[in-house]
Symmetry: C2
Amino acid sequence: MEKVVRFMHKFLGNDSEFKDKELEMYKLALTHSSNNSPFNHNQRLAFIGDSVLRLIIREHLYNKYPNWTKGQLSDTAKGTDKTIGIEQNKKYAKIAIKLNVLEYMDIQNQSFESDSTITNAETFEALFGAVYLTRGLEEARQLAEKYVLNK
Amino acid sequence: MEKVVRFMHKFLGNDSEFKDKELEMYKLALTHSSNNSPFNHNQRLAFIGDSVLRLIIREHLYNKYPNWTKGQLSDTAKGTDKTIGIEQNKKYAKIAIKLNVLEYMDIQNQSFESDSTITNAETFEALFGAVYLTRGLEEARQLAEKYVLNK
């Protein structure tokens, strides 16, 4: 768990103490899908994190561009929709690589490249899922502002 | 504004008093896109509401099915993604029609059918955008539990 704590302090930008339940969640976010059963890795959390990030990004665009139509907002947000494009995945992966997240992860199958876009992007989403579920939307928003929205 | 207040009381299931700023937002949610400038109707709010509903539905599935993989969760949530299917739109429209929402709306161009899936679904999403922006995620979640998740 020490690696998990170190990463989360770096990611959150402070040295919070964590409850056991929180730590379990962060450990899960940092567990690669090559591990264990499908319920013991970060993909379910990425499912949540994806929609957390989407809401935060949309609200940001909505507030930032009061004179944009829905069409203009959607075009700009499109990158956040993985069914349309992979641009947002690349962006998330880039941030995760910069955070060196794979160094802190529990990965059984090391056969993939450490700059793998999918692994890094999914872990980034999973971290947002974990932060949202343990610390709420506002803390997830603050982190998104720091890492994604460049506020 | 009296029509707006009446609808919101019905929608929220209580007779809250609203601040002017809230009322403006609800009026916008109930203004059809045939009206005025692109910033004076409900489509921008639908852009927010879509992602609010998506997050709430995903979190609901995540909690309800702790043994489902991301793939199983995604397959079930797919209906919520308008780029993949229109099932969710139909569901939202059905609820909005049941609420008789068009009767309460400000619609300049009456040429479309009152059971129009798109108009009803978009208004339903816009209402969730408005509730989220004025009353927060938890109140939006309670309404989604009542109308969408059948809790």
